[in-house]
């Protein structure tokens, strides 16, 4: 027996991926979970007594914004947030930082660990920002990370789609993932950002043309989805659709879902895309969740994360520059916008969600409707689109609302009557079980991301484990894990951060035909402000 073998003894193990919900032991060898030793006399090097506690895989965030230039711009644009939040002082072995809804990188890692999360996927990094993002993620400790690269407005991709050159698109995506050390492909407002940068509004339907490129949002979505499928990437194309935040966008979301029939796809922060009503009249907004959820319930090609909003101040940050400008005009708040050549843009606007505000109240209810209307929790992941809907630190509160109708009702009762009349949330009695919470916070996001060795506690899984006190106050239970184990090391003990190992940054580099490279080089020579030779990351830049 290895001297490193140790055991978490006697906890209630909730491991939905393996169909387990029972009291049992979890054995760990180095950074992996292993089968119990065959010899019943085997003595572990250490025994962690988890009797009476709940044992789950480490949490996995499928969609958040924690790195890259736009997150950093949000920090620098809002020093008032850092000043007002309690700072995190340096202590031996741990770095200092500032907090608030856009915490510094070290604080981000520590906080995720403190919440029982061991993996987070940044959902929107411009290819040209990948180099910086890797540096920033290297300074985000404890958790493992990955990021998705933005390609839904990429000129080279749009040209190949317009030319009907599916294999060239596929090779480009594969090359791009390797060059940026990205994990997967993200599409944001396909073609719409390019159109906005040309000062021609944004795309509002799947069949709007993208000026200067012989494509439509429909073609971009379906061709990139096809390419991602053909490359066999572990995560399907990750989509931020059209018309985010606008009343009436549920219709285009349903159209988008149908357009993707036959492809795998992940729809991000679906709450922001599920509104009935008239786009020109904010007051007409109503929940549009029911028909969308019905479609998701009837089809298996889609997964979702919700993008639940919380009441309070936060920061909207998005690659969808048009949305940021819309929010700025709506709120009058300060606005950061940055156009990035060849591909994308970004926008940052501070925002405060208020429970007394009709739209915000409705958004809160619409998010919860999604959780309660999707029958199969494996299709859905918990997210706030951090920090857009609110901080990931709010996940325990959302879990509380999902597990207790009474907790939901407390908030519901305080919402404005017009908002309550536009959502059927009050008709939904469903309450999540602990096993369902385990699915939407770890097992399902791991499966969505194709992380075969995470999100479960079977032999061979990475030893990322969170152990909670079985507290009837579920919010408190999920806010303060008793222990968190990252890659076999106890990082949280008695709810305190005890260790901060470096985390990994995962990436994929699928094979591609090198014949595409001269075309890409020519594209860079003609249009980029940096030389082609300087675009791909060297192996030492992102090991």
């Amino acid at each position: 027996m290895s001297g490193r073998l140790w055991v978490i003894r006697g906890g209630r193990v909730i491991d939905p991926a393996n169909g387990v919900d029972e009291v049992r032991d979890i054995w760990i060898d180095a950074d992996r979970i292993v089968a119990p030793p065959a010899d019943p006399e085997s003595r572990p090097a250490r025994l962690l007594d988890a009797r009476g506690a709940v044992v789950m895989p480490g949490g996995i965030d499928v969609h958040c914004h924690i790195a890259g230039p736009k997150v950093n711009a949000a920090r620098l644009m809002q020093p008032e947030i850092s000043r007002e939040a309690p700072p995190r002082p340096r202590r031996a072995g741990f770095r200092s930082g500032t907090g608030g809804v856009v915490p510094t990188s070290f604080t981000t890692g520590y906080r995720y660990a403190g919440l029982g999360y061991t993996f987070a996927c940044d959902a929107a990094i411009a290819p040209l920002a990948a180099r910086q993002a890797h540096h920033e993620l290297a300074d985000t400790p404890v958790i493992d990370k990955a990021f998705l690269i933005l390609l839904g407005n990429d000129h080279f991709a749009l040209e190949r789609i317009g030319q009907g050159r599916a294999s060239a698109l596929r090779d480009y995506l594969a090359w791009m993932l390797g060059a940026t050390r990205g994990y997967g492909v993200k599409v944001v407002n396909p073609g719409g950002i390019e159109r906005w940068k040309q000062a021609q509004g944004t795309t509002s339907s799947l069949d709007d043309p993208v000026p200067g490129f012989d494509v439509t949002p429909r073609a971009i979505l379906t061709e990139i989805a096809r390419a991602v499928d053909e490359l066999g990437l572990p995560h399907p194309v990750h989509i931020h659709g059209l018309n985010l935040g606008l009343p009436g966008n549920a219709a285009s979301t349903l159209e988008l879902m149908k357009a993707l029939d036959g492809h795998r796809a992940h729809l991000a922060h679906i709450q922001f895309h599920s509104y009935a009503g008239d786009p020109s009249d904010q007051e007409s907004m109503a929940s549009g969740v029911e028909p969308l959820a019905d479609y998701v319930n009837a089809h298996d090609h889609l997964s979702l994360d919700v993008g639940q909003i919380l009441f309070g101040p936060t920061t909207s940050m998005t690659a969808d520059s048009a949305v940021a400008e819309y929010l700025h005009r709506l709120t009058g708040r300060k606005w950061l916008s940055h156009d990035v050549e060849l591909e994308t843009g970004c926008g940052v606007v501070p925002i405060e969600y208020r429970h007394t505000q009709f739209i915000h109240a409705l958004q809160w209810a619409i998010g919860l409707e999604w959780f309660l209307r999707v029958n199969d929790p494996w299709k859905l992941a918990l997210s706030t689109d951090h920090p857009n809907g609110g901080s990931y630190l709010a996940y325990p509160r959302i879990i509380g609302w999902l597990m207790s109708r009474a907790l939901r009702d407390e908030v519901w009762a305080a919402l404005p009557a017009p908002a309550r009349s536009r959502s059927a949330l009050a008709d939904l009695d469903r309450e999540y079980t602990l096993a369902e919470i385990a699915i939407i916070t770890r097992a399902a996001p791991a499966r969505m991301l194709g992380l075969a060795d995470r999100g479960h506690l079977g032999p061979g899984a990475r030893a990322d484990v969170t152990i909670y006190r079985d507290d009837p106050d579920r919010v408190r239970m999920f806010e303060l894990p008793r222990w968190v184990i990252k890659s076999g090391q106890i990082v949280i003990d008695d709810s305190e951060l005890r260790a901060a190992p470096d985390g990994l940054t995962l990436h994929n580099a699928p094979a591609h035909d090198d014949a595409i490279i001269p075309e890409i080089r020519d594209h860079f020579d003609r249009h980029a402000s940096i030389r082609f030779a300087h675009f791909p990351l060297r192996s030492e830049e992102a090991p």
């Binding site: 090097a45 809002q78 200092s96 930082g97 510094t104 200067g212 916008s337 156009d339 990035v340 050549e341």
Partner: protein, 418 residues
Amino acid sequence: MTATCTITDWVCLACGTLCDDLTLTLDPSGPIAQLEPDCGPARLWWERVAQTASGPVAAVNGQPTSFQTALDCAAERIRAARSPRLVGLDATSLEGQRAAVALAERIGAVIDSGSAEARARLAAMARVGRCSATFGEVHARADQILIWACDPTTTHPRFLTRFVDPPGRFAVAPRNVIVVGSTPNATSARASLCLSVRPEQRIAALATLLALLRCAPIRSEQVAATTGQTLDAWTTLADALRRARYGVVVTDSTLDDPVEYEALLRLVRALNQRPDGRFVHLSLGLPGNAAGAEAVLGWQAGYAPDVTFAAGYPAMGVPDLEHDLTIELGSAFNLNRAPAAAVATIRIAPDATVTPPEPAVAIASSALGISESGTVIRSDGLALPVLSVVPSSRPSVAAILRELLQRLPDAAEQGTSP
């Protein structure tokens, strides 16, 4: 080297454009034999920084010593310091900056950027936000270029030739270049419209433009008195800005008044209220890696460009403190940098042991962009890899700082587990 050596795609750190497309041919003895395209500041920077490769690797009180001894002395002085300060963060790579901020945090130092432009820009951004773009977007889209109180033809010689002169994907050449500034200069000589405005008149000029865009009532006599130009002249300029499909306001590091900066960012924001045009602001950066320093401070501390760790956590700005120790990075790196106000106690730079004034502890590093690889960030936010092109046995700034950190351990190591 025993023969000429040609390096393609060399990244030049001499000005804020950070051109990465230069072909450099070196003589066997080291000087530049040929630079294509040629650039005066690039040649000057290379010659100045490359010559620092001579000299001892380290010195204490002016006496040459070993690298290890100098590090021990530096650590001893840091341990004895009550109020340390770190300057020159812009003079090193992202890797060096990450290590430098870690050091500053551990010893409770103040990080002083010394950049009035960065302070003004970030203060204005914190009030109103900012609309900006990468250089490549200017190349691809810009049809109106407003040069505000600067002369990029002189200070950033290849910015206009690389990104403005050639046509772009969505922009034809020649593009309309307008200059507003205090004196005729090399850039105004090529402008279609040039308005001469003294520095103290620029805020009034921006207010006038903003009023014209908003169709607010304006008194022509007041405009002439406060801006030095007629209302007609400003109307002509405002009309040109209104016509832009994709307009750019270009400034440089001399714009250091927070009020003027805010007025300028408000003007750009107002120009984005038009339904048929976009407008962005571009700040041509300082030489080296000032944008990298802002980025690293942003993600590690939450503030930039000046941060104090005196209380054990990051706080914004430079407190009014007497410093008993200054750690200076990369003094030869920035041709334009003013000498440090105080003599450095510890200097870590390619020229640390050869350039006066003499610090107490000098440690000679390799030179980023010549004999050191690393990452830098342009003022438009794009990160570039910089590769060593001349071998050196000297350590990088990042490596030196990491060695220093090892000599200044935390009071206790972090806990361990199975």
